[in-house]
């Protein structure tokens, strides 16, 4: 793990490649240098003196002072997320961050969604898993472009990884981008990726009290999809109780009951998706037309000066 730059777990791979780039480092003895990083576990480069001993007499050292920081711990991730969000908005791409426990049926739901949207809406997928590219392969089998991020030991995707993956995907203007996060109801809640919304998937084969056991995730999500609803007749799962728990941690959360297997509820989910996609498209068109308007104004000013 690279604990110096911290810009990602040492074992992160995006479709098998290490995301590597330049970093500047400040060492504890005050020296500064920059070098390329291969984000592999072993650091081959020499870091020189490891730390300044307590009796260091380097010039300018000695006087203790206070430095105000006042910054959010996740500021770095949030800055990458803001950059991703802007890149996506510029192209009218409606982006969702899909989060759930492992085994909730996220990938099956995605495959079904892509098939139903065929010919109506272009979809691209970023898949996050600790290991293997099986999920990206399942998505590619539908014909949609997909890229796999393997987080290695990491338990969540971060905005830096997603930014790299976006660069490698062929994203179409006005399309849908689905980011399937690592199956984990804890950590992904805190990491903004630049998405429009987090969508949490709770399958009815899980406990209906998951929203209050993992409140951060249900608080961060805009929509809860209750998946595998075709199995309800065989279970003791209470849908109203699950909704009540979810609204206890997030009074505003929307809920759609679906079954990726039978197609139940998929219409409502697709309508929700298309509504979001239309809004993203509309915003892009608005910003394009306002830019055109501004360009026309500037050209008029320039023409007036030429005269």
């Amino acid at each position: 793990m690279c604990t110096t730059c911290g810009c990602g777990d040492g074992e992160v791979k995006i479709d098998g490649d290490d995301p590597s780039h330049e970093h500047e480092h400040v060492h504890s003895d005050g020296t500064r240098h920059s070098h390329g990083h291969e984000h592999a576990g072993d650091h081959a480069h020499d870091h020189g003196p490891r730390y300044a001993p307590a009796h260091s007499h380097a010039p300018g050292l000695g006087a203790r002072r206070m430095v105000q920081i006042e910054q959010d711990i996740l500021a770095k991730n949030n800055a990458y997320a803001t950059e991703n969000r802007q890149r996506l908005a510029d192209r009218g791409i409606f982006t969702l961050n899909l989060v759930s426990s492992p085994g909730s049926g996220k990938t099956t739901l995605l495959v079904k969604t892509i098939e139903l949207l065929k010919g109506r809406q272009r979809v691209a997928v970023i898949e996050g898993d600790q290991q293997t590219s099986q999920d990206a392969e399942r998505i590619r089998a539908t014909g949609a472009p997909a890229i796999q991020i393997n987080t290695g030991k990491g338990c969540h995707l971060d905005a830096h990884m997603v930014g790299h993956a976006m660069g490698k995907l062929e994203l179409a203007d006005d399309s849908l981008l689905m980011i399937e996060n690592v199956g984990n109801l804890v950590c992904p809640a805190a990491f903004d990726l630049g998405e429009a919304h987090k969508v949490v998937i709770l399958s009815v084969t899980e406990g209906e009290d998951k929203p209050i056991k993992y409140p951060d995730m249900f608080r961060a999500a805009t929509l809860m999809l209750m998946n595998k609803c075709d199995l309800l007749p065989h279970l003791t799962f209470s849908v109203p109780r699950a909704i009540e728990f979810a609204r206890r941690v997030n009074p505003g959360i929307e809920v759609i009951e679906v079954s990726a297997t039978t197609g139940q509820g998929m219409d409502a989910w697709l309508a929700w998706l298309e509504g979001g996609a239309a809004a993203a498209r509309g915003q892009r068109q608005d910003s394009v037309s306002s830019l055109k308007h501004r360009v026309a104004e500037l050209e008029a000013q320039l023409a007036a000066r030429d005269v």
Binding site: L61, I69, V186, P215
Partner: protein
């Protein structure tokens, strides 16, 4: 929750500050952690020590300032203290409470040489 990633985030902020404000060693770090942020203080301290080893903040003391949890109860139309994100309103017992404070995770200040 993911205290290791958070500790890495703290170190990044410290290194950025070192770059802009020209200091060579950090001796104390003040973090503001909200009661409802989900951060385990003991885990944070442990991860901070691990992540800062051999860095500019090696051996720095971590001071935690706890920010109280507060929420807005829709039923009572007032701000109420909260100890859990999904907790009930201490006044009416309802659950229609939106968290308004206590989710902070901030680096406040550093003591540097």
């Amino acid at each position: 929750m993911h205290e290791m990633s958070l500790a890495e985030g703290v170190l990044q902020l410290i290194e950025d500050a070192a770059h802009h404000q020209e200091f060579a060693k950090v001796t104390k770090v003040w973090l503001e952690i909200g009661q409802l942020s989900g951060v385990e203080i003991e885990a944070m301290k442990f991860c901070f020590d691990a992540v800062t080893r051999d860095s500019i903040a090696d051996g720095a003391r971590l001071e935690i300032i706890t920010a109280p949890g507060t929420g807005w109860c829709l039923e009572c139309s007032t701000t109420v203290p909260m100890t859990e994100v999904y907790g009930e309103c201490p006044q009416c017992g309802g659950y229609q409470v939106q968290v308004t404070g206590g989710t902070e995770m901030r680096v406040k200040e550093l003591e540097v040489v």
